[in-house]
Structures are given as structure tokens and as C-alpha cells.
């Protein structure tokens, strides 16, 4: 077990954002949280990472768990002059060859001397992913990592993510809107709407009546016929 959240509840003036949500991430999991806007997905990630403490419920981390966290939409304030190179090693001691490995993996070598506030949305996402990887994490937690990208950028990003998953054999927990793109690579989907509506393998979940009631019949039919071409074998996970 890497992280276990038990009965996480978060209240806001507008009502319950999270209602008794329990979620467990094991080693080598690839888990995607889907759900409509305002369903509490970001809040749940923040609770699991430890950025927020829930009003009730419990979050347990594996001892000395290292998390690479990528927050939702980084806005870089131009008042702070900071190069990408400096950002990657900020508050972090990282060996030069490990850094260059990550830089190559995320394809940001030509960005290193650019200023953070001059990056485009897609460039920021890759740099943020590199920063998350720089901590050599046991678990990547990504909050809508592809949201600022165009469709081909999204495809690229998810391919990159899948490559990282297979090369490193580390766990990934991700919030995403891009159901159709995520279905192919993720091993497990959790559908969240303030509470966990349903969860399971991506192919099975699209037939779940709760899923259909939230996302509509059309989407689930679309998902059902979406071809899942796997040109590789997934490592069989255990402990679901």
C-alpha cells in the first residue's frame, strides 16, 4: 500500500465536496479519477497528497513515501525571474545524470535556459512532470496534467506518461477529463461525484449504470466501441 484514504470528508459553505471517500493506491497502480466539474477531484488529490487536511477521515502514507505532485494549472507569476533549470532543482538535491535522464525523457532540453513565465501551457506541463519525476517518486499524482494542451499535445502527453509508467514501474494517480484517451493506458478508473460512484477496470466501468447516469448513455456507448489497441502486455497488477 502506498496511500490509503479512509472516509475522507470535506465540507465547504456550498455543501459537502467530498463525502466519505475511500481510496487506496498500491504499488504499480495506474489509477485515473474521472468525474464532472466540481465533483471534488482536485480536493481529493490535495487530501491524499497532504496539501489539505480533510474535515474528517484519515489519510495514511507508506512510511517515507515519496510523491511527485503536479498541481492543476500552474500559473507562473512573471515577477519572479526563474529559469527552468533552476526550477527543476529548487529545494532539491539531484544528481546531474539523473536530471539529464529526466530532461531527455520529458523532452525539455531546449527549455532549460528559458524563463518559467515565458513557457507555453504544454511546455509548463512537461516541465512540471519533470519536476515531479526529479524527486524519484514512488507515486506520481497528477491533477489534469493535459488540460492546457491541444488534442495532439494530449495524445503526446499520455503516451509519454505511459512510457514513464512502463519504464519506471512506479504508481500513477491521475485526475483527467480525457476519458477516451485515458481508457487505453489506465488500469483502474474511479468515477467520483462527491462520493465514489463506481470503480473498476476501464472496459467494465463504462457499462456501470452509475457511470451512465453521470456521463450519459452516449459517452458510455462511445467508450464501449472505442478500440483498445494494446501493442504491449500490461504488467499484471495485484492487490485490487
Amino acid at each position: 500500500m502506498l496511500i490509503e484514504g479512509q472516509n475522507i470528508t470535506v465540507e465547504k459553505e456550498t455543501g459537502r465536496i467530498l463525502d466519505n471517500v475511500s481510496l487506496r493506491i498500491d504499488e504499480k497502480d495506474f489509477l485515473t479519477i474521472v468525474g464532472p466539474n466540481g465533483a471534488g477531484k482536485t480536493m481529493l488529490l490535495k487530501c491524499l497528497v497532504g496539501v489539505l487536511s480533510p474535515d474528517s477521515g484519515q489519510v495514511t502514507h507508506k512510511p517515507s513515501l515519496s510523491i511527485g505532485y503536479m498541481p492543476q494549472s500552474m500559473e507562473i507569476d512573471p515577477v519572479l525571474p526563474l529559469s527552468v533549470r533552476r526550477f527543476l532543482s529548487l529545494n532539491l538535491s539531484i544528481k546531474a545524470d539523473f536530471l539529464s535522464e529526466i530532461v531527455n525523457e520529458t523532452d525539455i532540453a531546449m527549455l532549460l535556459d528559458r524563463q518559467m513565465h515565458n513557457l507555453s501551457g504544454g511546455e509548463i506541463q512537461r516541465v512540471m512532470l519533470a519536476r515531479a519525476l526529479a524527486r524519484d517518486p514512488d507515486l506520481l499524482i497528477l491533477d489534469e496534467p493535459a488540460q492546457n494542451l491541444d488534442i495532439s499535445g494530449q495524445l503526446e502527453f499520455y503516451k509519454l506518461l505511459e512510457r514513464i509508467y512502463h519504464n519506471r514501474q512506479k504508481a500513477i494517480l491521475m485526475v483527467s477529463h480525457d476519458l477516451h484517451l485515458v481508457m487505453a493506458s489506465t488500469k483502474k478508473v474511479v468515477c467520483l461525484y462527491h462520493h465514489v460512484c463506481c470503480s473498476g477496470a476501464p472496459q467494465a466501468i463504462t457499462r456501470d449504470p452509475e457511470f451512465i447516469s453521470i456521463f450519459g448513455d452516449d459517452l458510455s456507448k462511445m467508450m464501449a466501441v472505442y478500440p483498445h489497441e494494446h501493442d504491449h502486455d500490461h504488467v499484471t497488477g495485484e492487490g485490487h
Binding site: 497528497v49 497532504g50 505532485y69 498541481p71 507569476d77 525571474p81 529545494n91
Partner: protein, 278 residues
């Protein structure tokens, strides 16, 4: 010569602290704390202890209050800061006049007994050139060194937190503690600088060199170096000019800093033409 020690020490430490203030968008906070300082002076005079202690006390209370209020969101933070700052200023001004009237009648009350309230206000609002004692110089140097050491220790997490607070928190940075430390440093600096630039100009001494430095810097450290250089030159010219022409030091220093800022702006336009990536 020794009259220059305090202003120049202040200028050097204003460099890094000023940069942090503009990165973390705390200029309003600095202003509110500075304005509350006058209330501290007045309370000190009124009750009869050293104004510096009154200032430190009131500023510390305001700083804690401000961090606390940051998390309440019925009124926006700039509204709250405006109320606190000018409320404190108004009460402070009234109290200065009142205590001046009181002490005017009371001849037992030591050195302050015949200070005209207008002179007193001029000193606290606009700064004074009055000789600063060796003891005060030493306190200033020790204080500035302490601030420099603390900043050095928390520098990297502080920058990370400035960039993105969620990311910093996720990576284990104690963000709330750092916020309080920053407030403490800013309060200390306001108290230290009050006598030299006055209530109205202390924030400008902090943010103007940093803002000028931003125009021509590509790393946080370069920005700090330039901020120190600008603060140093601005304070030196302003202070000397005010000495020669018998003008209050606060406005003289800030006028010099304003000219420096305008020059840096022009330089940055020129640089950007050559290299648009800065």
C-alpha cells in the same frame, strides 16, 4: 560618516527582503504594518515607554492579525488592509496630538515634554537625520545579519512556495510557518527603518529597488544583488542630498529610488529589444 551606517545597513538588507515582498505580493502588508507603527509611537509616548518598544509591539500584533485575516474571506484582503492601516494611522495621529498636549502641561515627563507635535510627526512620517546612537547602530547591524542568516536558511523552500504553494506543501515545506517568518522579518525591517525613512516611505524603500532590479534580472539571486545595489545608491544619494539641502530624508531617498526605477525601466526596454527572452 557614522550617521551613514544605519541607512546603508538598512539599504543592504532591504534588497533581499524587498524582492521577497514583491514576489509574495506583500507590499500592502508592509504598508499596513508601517502605518500601524505610528499608533505604536503614539502609545509609547502616551503611556510613557520608549517609542521603539511601542512600535515593535503594535507592529507585531498587526502582523499576526494580518496573517490571520488572510484566511477570512468576507471582505477582500486589500479592503481589510486599508481599514487596518488607515484606522491605525488615524488613531496614531490623534494620540500624538493628544499626548503632546498632555505632556506640554506635565513638566516631569522627561525629554519629550516640549516637543511640538508637528515636529514629532514630521520625524515619524518623513524620517529624520538625527544622529543615531552607536547602540542603535549595533542593534541594526545585528538585526540585519540575523535576517540575512534566516533568509539564507529558508531561501529555497521560500522560492518554491512563492512559485506554487500547493507544490511546496506537497513536497513537505511548512508553508504557514514560513509565512509567519516572512511577516516577522518584514515587521522587524519596518521597525528598524522607521526612524530613517519615516512611516510613509519605508515600504517604498523595500519595493522600489526590487522592482527596478526585476527589470534587468534573470535569476532570483541576480535580482537580489541588483536590488541591494539600487537600494544602496538610492539611500546614499537621498541621504546626502537631504543632509546638504536640509530636507527630510524619507522623501529624498524615495525620490532618488524613483529615478533609479525609471532608469531601470528604460534599460529593460533597451535590453528587451536585443533579447526578447528576458
Amino acid at each position: 560618516m557614522s550617521a551613514l551606517i544605519a541607512p546603508l545597513v538598512l539599504a543592504v538588507i532591504a534588497g533581499p527582503v524587498g524582492c521577497l515582498i514583491i514576489w509574495r505580493r506583500m507590499a500592502y502588508f508592509g504598508d499596513a504594518i508601517a502605518h500601524s507603527a505610528l499608533l505604536g509611537v503614539a502609545l509609547g509616548l502616551f503611556i510613557g515607554f520608549a517609542p521603539n518598544i511601542g512600535v515593535a509591539l503594535i507592529c507585531a500584533i498587526f502582523a499576526v492579525l494580518l496573517v490571520y485575516l488572510q484566511h477570512r474571506r468576507k471582505l477582500s484582503i486589500d479592503t481589510l488592509l486599508g481599514i487596518l492601516a488607515h484606522g491605525a494611522l488615524a488613531f496614531g495621529l490623534l494620540l500624538v496630538f493628544w499626548s503632546a498636549l498632555e505632556t506640554g502641561h506635565d513638566t516631569h515627563n522627561g525629554a519629550n515634554h516640549n516637543i511640538d507635535p508637528h515636529t514629532l510627526l514630521e520625524i515619524y512620517l518623513l524620517g529624520s537625520l538625527e544622529n543615531i546612537s552607536m547602540n542603535q547602530n549595533i542593534i541594526l547591524i545585528v538585526g540585519a545579519s540575523l535576517i540575512a542568516i534566516i533568509l539564507k536558511l529558508i531561501w529555497e523552500p521560500l522560492i518554491l512556495m512563492t512559485l506554487n504553494i500547493d507544490l511546496a506543501r506537497a513536497e513537505g515545506v511548512p508553508t504557514l510557518r514560513l509565512q509567519y517568518i516572512m511577516m516577522g522579518i518584514m515587521t522587524a525591517l519596518v521597525v528598524m527603518g522607521l526612524q530613517i525613512t519615516g512611516v510613509l516611505f519605508i515600504t517604498s524603500l523595500l519595493i522600489m529597488p526590487a522592482a527596478a532590479a526585476r527589470q534587468i534580472s534573470t535569476t532570483p539571486e541576480k535580482m537580489i544583488l541588483w536590488a541591494i545595489i539600487f537600494a544602496f545608491s538610492g539611500v546614499l544619494t537621498g541621504y546626502l542630498a537631504s543632509h546638504e539641502a536640509h530636507l527630510p530624508p524619507g522623501p529624498s531617498i524615495v525620490s532618488a529610488l524613483t529615478i533609479i526605477f525609471i532608469i531601470s525601466l528604460l534599460i529593460s526596454v533597451f535590453l528587451r529589444r536585443k533579447n526578447p527572452r528576458i
